[in-house]
């Protein structure tokens, strides 16, 4: 019964915040902060309490499950489950939710109650996405997430916000429909095969799919996740949405929305369609490499600081898709670390830009420069996040990227080698951020107030997390390991139910090179 509460707390908190908005702008802020604080404490408690089970050898990845029938006539249930992966991601979105509230503390003055309502509902629906184990419920939360985000950008965004919201909405909505097709296809095939019509994740695992239908259904789902991640060439909504969103919206986009795409691939796409998705892996990995390099090059050409950072996200997410489709333990663990580390470091950068904008009233790079002398502390914080983004060892992103490449090398040497070029291009754009904003001449003679204690607290928290991920990532790796191994096992089991008539168990699986369980990387 804990799992529904994890969502309900946020829903209630958001609604309360909206109502309390009548009494004054400070009410919704404190209510949201308190709700998220309690929620975070609760999740932390859950993590610490269950931490020991991650190191057991006989472990079920699911340490909490919840299942009640919802629309039982067509096999829809309200089914939630939490394993290490979803716990980590929910902790991440919660932490970033707190940061989003904190960074909008003074920036949002208009309709404060409704703003916080939207913020909390985004968090609630994404939490739902990470917990849902019924494909219909998953789709429900997936679509629900759009609405508050639409309002968040559309009401509190910048000049060109309407164009950006419509673009963002259409991209995700259209791709979401493809996912719905995929889910329904799976549902009907499974029903026809077994006579049981259900949306339950566990039952749908191992569905035998005729070709080429299976491949098409996989492609439909892939498209939805690829748009959210985003994968080049489906990425163009992201720079617009980021640029026009208020800081809290950018934090949500970078830290949370992008992660659901990766999560969907790990949890649903590959376990449900192992054969089809892994035969598609070369293309997906190629898209990942293109994303890494293309995103970085386009980022370097930007003059709008927020747009630049948005493109760096595209580059980083290239590593994630690469790691996911390499589908071995090392690469998957790396992808999960990147998801978390990127959420932290990019949110840090967006918050930094928000802080800069509240002082300079511009995002234009060409009008900045030499700000280090007047904002040394903010410059220092920005330096840490850009260094994280260029993959400096000792900070979280490096651990993720290194593990991904280490795992990818096993699957494809050229892919690993090309993706390593990402280290170089990341250095180029990252140093450009520092040069453009903080180094060089202060041509406009800016004299600014350095970070307030509220801003400093946000930065310090994020820096602490990114350092922790870089120096001792083991707590995170231990937590996600059972989930990663379970996903790999599901994929293999599904694979076996499909191929068992043709291939005897003694023969190696056709994708053995990319699947490694427990034994990991024996050369």
């Amino acid at each position: 019964m804990i799992l529904p509460w994890i969502i309900i707390i946020l829903v209630i908190g958001g609604t309360l915040a909206w109502i309390a908005g009548r009494f004054g702008p400070h009410w919704p802020r404190w209510i949201s902060l308190a709700t998220l604080g309690i929620h975070f404490g609760f999740l932390l408690y859950l993590w610490i309490q269950n931490y020991s089970i991650f190191t057991l050898t006989t472990r079920s990845p699911w340490f909490a499950l919840f299942d009640i029938p919802w629309i039982s006539q067509i096999g829809i249930s309200f089914s939630l489950g939490m394993d290490g992966l979803s716990l980590l991601l929910i902790l991440l979105i919660n932490l970033l939710g707190i940061m989003a509230v904190a960074c909008s503390w003074n920036a949002i003055k208009d309709r404060v109650g409704f703003f916080h309502f939207n913020l909390m509902w985004i968090l609630a629906s994404i939490t739902g996405v990470f917990l849902a184990l019924d494909l219909f419920l998953f789709y429900f939360f997936w679509e629900l997430m759009l609405v508050p985000l639409y309002f968040l950008i559309g009401i509190w965004g910048y000049e060109n916000r309407i164009y950006a919201t419509i673009k963002f909405f259409i991209f995700t909505q259209v791709s979401g429909l493809f996912m719905l097709l995929g889910i329904l296809g799976l549902y009907f095939v499974h029903g026809a095969n077994t006579g049981v019509y259900t949306f339950s994740y566990f039952q749908l695992l191992g569905t035998k799919l005729p070709q080429p239908l299976g491949f098409l259904l996989m492609l439909g789902m892939f498209l939805a996740f690829a748009v959210k991640l985003p994968v080049v060439p489906f990425h163009t909504w992201l720079p617009d949405a980021h640029t026009e969103a208020p800081t809290a919206g950018s934090v949500d986009l970078a830290g949370l929305v992008l992660k659901v795409g990766a999560y969907g691939m790990i949890r649903f796409l590959i376990p449900l369609f192992p054969k089809d998705s892994l035969s598609f892996a070369p293309i997906a990995m190629a898209l990942g490499i293109i994303g890494i390099l293309y995103g970085a090059i386009v980022a370097f050409g930007q003059t709008d600081l927020k747009r630049l950072i948005a493109y760096t996200s595209i580059s980083h997410m290239g590593f994630v898709i690469l790691g996911i489709f390499a589908w071995n333990t090392i690469a998957l663990q790396g992808a999960i670390i990147i998801m978390i580390a990127h959420g932290i470091s990019t949110s840090g950068l967006f918050i930094m830009v928000g802080d800069l904008m509240s002082r300079l009233h511009t995002r234009d790079f060409r009008r900045m420069g030499g700000l280090w002398s007047t904002l040394p502390r903010m410059g220092g914080a920005a330096m840490v996040f850009t260094l994280a983004s260029l993959g400096l060892p000792g900070l979280g992103n490096f651990v993720g990227e290194f593990l991904v490449l280490l795992g990818v090398y096993r699957v494809s040497i050229p892919a690993a080698a090309l993706a390593t070029l990402g280290f170089i291009v990341a250095t180029i754009y990252s140093l450009w951020i520092i040069q453009g904003a903080f180094h060089g001449r202060n041509t406009e003679g800016w004299k600014l107030q350095d970070m307030s204690s509220r801003e400093a607290a946000i930065m310090t928290t994020l820096i602490a997390v990114i350092l922790w991920l870089g120096i001792y990532p083991q707590t995170v790796l231990n937590t996600s390991l059972p989930a990663v191994e379970a996903m790999q096992k599901y994929a293999i089991e599904t694979q076996q139910t499909i191929v068992s008539p043709q291939i005897s168990p003694a023969q190696p699986l056709p994708i053995e090179g990319s699947i490694t369980i427990n034994t990991g990387g024996k050369p």
Binding site: K167, V232, P233, H235, T236, P239, I297, V298, F300, G301, Q302, T303, T329, I330, Q333, G370, W372, S373, P376, G380, L387, L392, P393, G394, V399, F402, L403, L405, L406, Y409, R410, A416, A417, T420, L421, F423, I424, T427, I428, L431, W432, Q435, F438, H439, G440, R441, N442, I471, Y472, P473, Q474, L477, L481, T516, N518, T519, G520, G521, K522, P523
Partner: protein
């Protein structure tokens, strides 16, 4: 005592953290105490550890200390672990000691600069990273230190950040070395995926067991590591960042050139020497890269007017000697030259820093002159450093280390007369450009008056380094000059001895004599060209051939121009021309298409009855046709 090992890198890092967080609020004295003190404590600890290491050697002549497991995924589990053997011991001693002296110097040199605490924070981080690099027991931790020194070079070269040129030089250093680092990272992927470990000793052992000499995997792995090494050590073809790195304060140059950063590549190759022995072709490439670099950089150094750029090119050239030594399997000779070079090059940069300060921030040697009498102590120490750099026979350390390399390049089985000859020409160039610098700066008529005299801390730093620049050479002397082998014996636990062809072993005395003469002739030539008849030299430079050569050498053989044209400009052009992301055109196209369709369809709703009637008629016909024919 060995248990204190972990504190050696950690204390400078603590210094960094303290200075980064509370530094701006501290007084300059407090900053100096933390900044200099942390490295000082580290140096003392290093000496204590060394005494304990030598007096009671641990089992297997190596000591490993693990703090915690950094990452643990399946069988990939590198630790935050330090490994101390004679090689890393030497490195730690040099890094902490030279680093400390440079910090001491900086406390005075940087006193009136803005960002005093920021400077010491970065310097401490630099030393800390370098110590992690040399002490790492696995390649991933080494990579952490490796990237850390790259970062610090960026931060310190761009220390005076308001000048965009400094920022450019800083970014160039980081990006160029990162090109090498990317190669090295791929090397790590290869090593781990084939040998299932990144622990350096295990990698060496398993590589020797599983790979044949010259096997493709061994060659690729060694080549990729070499890629990383040439980046950090500023060797061909990635040497272009180092001359520009002069944008930073002088102590930074001293630290980069002497104690940290550029020697990392030499250390990496020495550390992984087994891999290079398994890949003879790559090892030959190391020797050739070294020989080519030392010549190219030597010619370039001849033409520079900026005193620090001469020193920068001389570093590239001297590291070239170390690569030459590594390439012919003279591992301990390379480390010996690293040691002597660390002392005399730090000395030269620090003394040059005094000169530049005394000349009111003037770098151009042609505007200096006659400083011998105005800055006597600086002059004498600079002279000692220069003599060591030019390998002045018998009394300087450079003589012993460089001539050992020359002899090994000739007499080792993988050596050759050509390699020896390249080294000899390089030595000739070295003494010319070095004493050109000495004569232009300290001799002749005074052109400017010195506006500044160094204080006690700077003088102390110079004297200590000068003493070492003279004396450290006696750790290792040739067979006919005492045959001392302290360093070689100490290193023999980590590095295999250099093998010498018996038929060439006897020529050591002759070779030493030749190079001693070459060094002296070079100095005399510098005296002639730049002090006695500078007009003739000027005429030589003005001559058609001279002008072309001068331009090429001065610009570092045009490598910057080449990279700029082939890589930088196309990249910037690509980024700028695709600023609006051409992929978005696809979606904009869809929007346009929809709008066009919308216009077409809205035209049909024009209120004319005859249009509607026609429409109904055509529609009816089509529907009937479908019904009838299908």
């Amino acid at each position: 005592m060995l248990g204190l090992l972990w504190l050696i890198p950690v204390i400078p890092l603590i210094g960094f953290i303290l200075l980064a967080i509370i530094g701006p609020r501290l007084s300059r004295t407090a900053v100096a105490i933390i900044g200099v003190g942390s490295v000082g404590i580290s140096a003392i600890l290093a000496i204590l550890v060394a005494i304990s290491f030598i007096s009671s050697p641990p089992a297997g002549n190596a000591f490993t200390q693990t703090l915690w497991t950094w990452i643990n995924v399946t069988n990939f589990n590198p630790g935050i672990s330090f490994y101390l053997d004679s090689l890393s011991m030497i490195m730690v001693l040099v890094v902490t000691f030279v680093g400390f002296v440079i910090h001491l110097y900086s406390a005075e040199h940087m006193l009136h600069q803005e960002g005093y605490s920021r400077f010491f924070a970065y310097m401490n981080l630099f030393v800390g990273s370098m110590l992690i690099l040399v002490l790492a027991n696995n390649l991933l931790l080494l990579y952490l230190g490796w990237e850390g020194v790259g970062l610090c070079s960026y931060l310190l070269i761009g220390f005076w950040y308001t000048n965009p040129a400094n920022g450019r030089a800083a970014r160039k250093a980081f990006i160029v070395t990162r090109v090498g680092d990317a190669a090295m990272a791929i090397g790590l992927f290869l090593l781990f995926n084939n040998l299932a470990t990144l622990n350096i000793q295990d990698v060496m052992q398993r590589a020797a067991q599983t790979w044949q000499i010259g096997s493709p995997l061994a060659v690729t792995a060694a080549a990729l590591l070499l890629g990383g090494a040439v980046g950090k050590s500023a060797q061909l073809p990635l040497q272009t960042w180092l001359p520009d790195a002069m944008a930073g304060p002088s102590p930074v140059s001293a630290l980069i050139h002497a104690a940290t950063m550029v020697t990392a590549g030499v250390y990496l190759i020495a550390r992984t020497h087994v891999l290079f022995s398994l890949a003879p072709s790559v090892q030959l490439a190391v020797a050739i890269v070294g020989a080519a670099t030392l010549l190219l950089a030597g010619f370039s150094a001849l033409t520079q007017w900026d005193i620090k750029r001469v020193l920068a090119y001389s570093t590239i050239s001297q590291i070239g000697y170390m690569f030459l030594a590594l390439g012919v399997g003279a591992w301990s000779a390379a480390i010996f030259h690293f040691m002597t070079h660390a002392f005399f090059k730090a000395l030269l940069f620090l003394a040059a820093g005094v000169v530049i300060d005394a000349m009111n921030d003037e770098h151009n040697m042609f505007k200096m002159g006659g400083l011998r009498t105005q800055l006597p102590l600086t002059f004498w120490t600079f002279l000692i450093g220069s003599s060591a750099l030019s390998a002045l026979p018998l009394i300087t350390s450079g003589f012993y280390s460089k001539d050992l390399i020359l002899f090994d390049a000739y007499a080792s089985p993988s050596g050759s007369t050509w390699l020896w000859l390249a080294g000899l020409v390089g030595a000739f160039l070295t003494s010319i450009y070095t004493f050109r610098m000495v004569f232009l700066t300290f001799f002749g008529k005074p052109k400017t008056k010195a506006v500044y005299q160094p204080g006690s801390r700077i003088n102390l730093a110079l004297i200590v380094l000068a003493a070492f620049a003279l004396l450290i050479g006696f750790l290792e002397t040739p067979s006919f000059l005492g045959n001392i082998n302290v360093l070689g014996n100490f290193l023999s636990a980590s590095l295999p001895a250099t093998s010498i062809l018996p038929q060439r072993a006897g020529s050591e005395g002759i070779l030493e004599l030749v190079s001693a003469v070459i060094s002296l002739v070079g100095i005399y030539l510098a005296y002639l060209l730049f002090l006695r008849v500078p007009k003739t030299t000027e005429a030589m430079v003005q001559s058609p051939v001279g002008a072309v050569l001068h331009r090429y050498w001065f610009s570092g053989w045009g490598f910057d121009w080449l990279y700029d044209t082939v890589l930088v400009r196309p990249f910037v052009w690509m980024a700028n021309s695709n600023k609006n992301d051409f992929i978005d055109l696809l979606y904009k196209g869809i929007i346009r298409l929809n709008e066009a369709l919308h216009r077409v369809l809205s035209n049909t709703e024009n209120g004319l009855v005859r249009w509607y009637a026609t429409g109904i008629a055509i529609g009816a016909v089509i529907i009937i046709a479908i019904v009838v024919f299908l």
